[in-house]
């Protein structure tokens, strides 16, 4: 697809999203707003591409861990329902909160994002489109996406990851403001190649 055609598709998608999912959130698709939304997404992407998010949004069937994003210790696998292998589920080790004594991180509903929500290796534009694609986002509307990444308890954990794990590079409050502003301006995406 040529760059102009891709841009046109992105604009069309953004317009559709505004029309289809504007309940509950005021969105202003004003002239230039979409571009500004896309600019904001590049900042949002810095968070989504941090190890705290990517480690559990892998492209394969093995989670990663640590700031260095090494493969999860002892060959842990995704399992049939994204909660680990039968007999060794995520909650075998990960509890509702970080464990001080063992150092094992924890939050409610600890699990991998489904395989179709894999984000590793995506450009900012690809990541944005994946986030908005109902097939890849669990059938979420833009409002649902905004709610998930600004409110979800497992996402919240990223900013309270415990000792030895670096939080995302944008503060939680600022990130939430960026996400809402991006959505209000039409949830525009950067070019797929960027």
């Amino acid at each position: 697809m040529s760059a102009p055609a891709g841009a046109a598709l992105a604009c069309s998608l953004a317009t559709l999203l505004v029309l289809a999912g504007c309940s509950g959130t005021e969105r202003r698709a004003s002239e230039g707003g979409a571009e500004r939304g896309a600019e904001e997404f590049t900042r949002i992407a810095q968070v989504l591409k941090s190890p705290r998010c990517l480690n559990c949004h892998p492209m394969g069937n093995t989670p990663r861990q640590g700031d260095e994003r090494r493969l999860h210790d002892f060959g842990v696998t995704r399992g049939p329902d994204d909660h680990g292998a039968p007999g060794l589920t995520c909650d075998s080790c990960h509890q509702d909160v970080n464990q001080q004594e063992s150092g094992v991180p924890g939050a409610r509903r600890w699990h991998l994002a489904p395989l179709r929500m894999g984000w590793e290796g995506l450009t900012d534009g690809e990541l944005c489109r994946a986030l908005l694609d109902p097939y890849k986002n669990g059938g979420r509307s833009v409002d649902d996406v905004v709610h998930h990444i600004t409110e979800d308890s497992l996402v919240n954990w990223a900013w309270q990851p415990g000792d030895g794990r670096t939080p995302p590079p944008v503060a939680r409050a600022e990130f939430n403001e960026l996400v809402r502003a991006w959505a209000n301006k039409g949830a525009a995406c950067p070019p797929a190649s960027g």
Partner: protein, 155 residues
């Protein structure tokens, strides 16, 4: 300190601990259930594995306050007379060498057989990630297959 009434091996047991105390230490030091072992302390080796509501849980990384009334099963709870299929299979296959990791192995295997009655080699490898410095892994696998067969025959 907080008082907890824990459901351990089918019996209510009272313990006092700070809420974030790992279940491992309550089981061993307050309830005298020494079958559950301390290995790495970081949920990596599996020596401390118990079952909670049938699921394998590494008790060094499980706060006692999270137990509530959930059913905790330790290796002592499999059977008092070596009659559990896993105990019979473990003896038949002569699995242990030094034995230190074996209670965790048994409880991981118990959770696996609860989830999959007749697991494949791949399913065993995915679920049994416990570490054994004696290298009993192949005998563990054989014993799990034998236990699955014993379960099937007893039905």
């Amino acid at each position: 300190m907080t008082e907890f009434v824990l459901n351990v091996n089918g019996t209510p047991r009272v313990a006092e601990a700070t809420p974030d105390t790992p279940l491992l230490w309550v089981l061993r030091e307050q309830l005298g259930l020494k079958g559950t072992k301390f290995g790495c302390g970081v949920a990596a080796c599996g020596a401390c594995t118990v079952n909670i509501d049938g699921v394998a849980v590494r008790s060094c990384s499980f706060p006692v306050s999270a137990a509530g009334n959930r059913a905790i099963t330790t290796v002592e709870g499999l059977s008092p007379d070596r009659s559990h299929v896993l105990q019979r299979a473990w003896i038949a296959e002569q699995v242990p060498q030094c034995g230190y990791c074996q209670s965790g192995m048994l409880m991981s295997a118990n959770a696996l057989l609860r989830a999959i009655a007749s697991p494949s080699d791949a399913e065993i490898e995915a679920a049994i990630t416990n570490i054994c410095r004696c290298g009993t892994y192949t005998r563990v696998r054989k014993a799990i297959h034998r236990a699955a067969q014993l379960m099937k025959e007893s039905q």
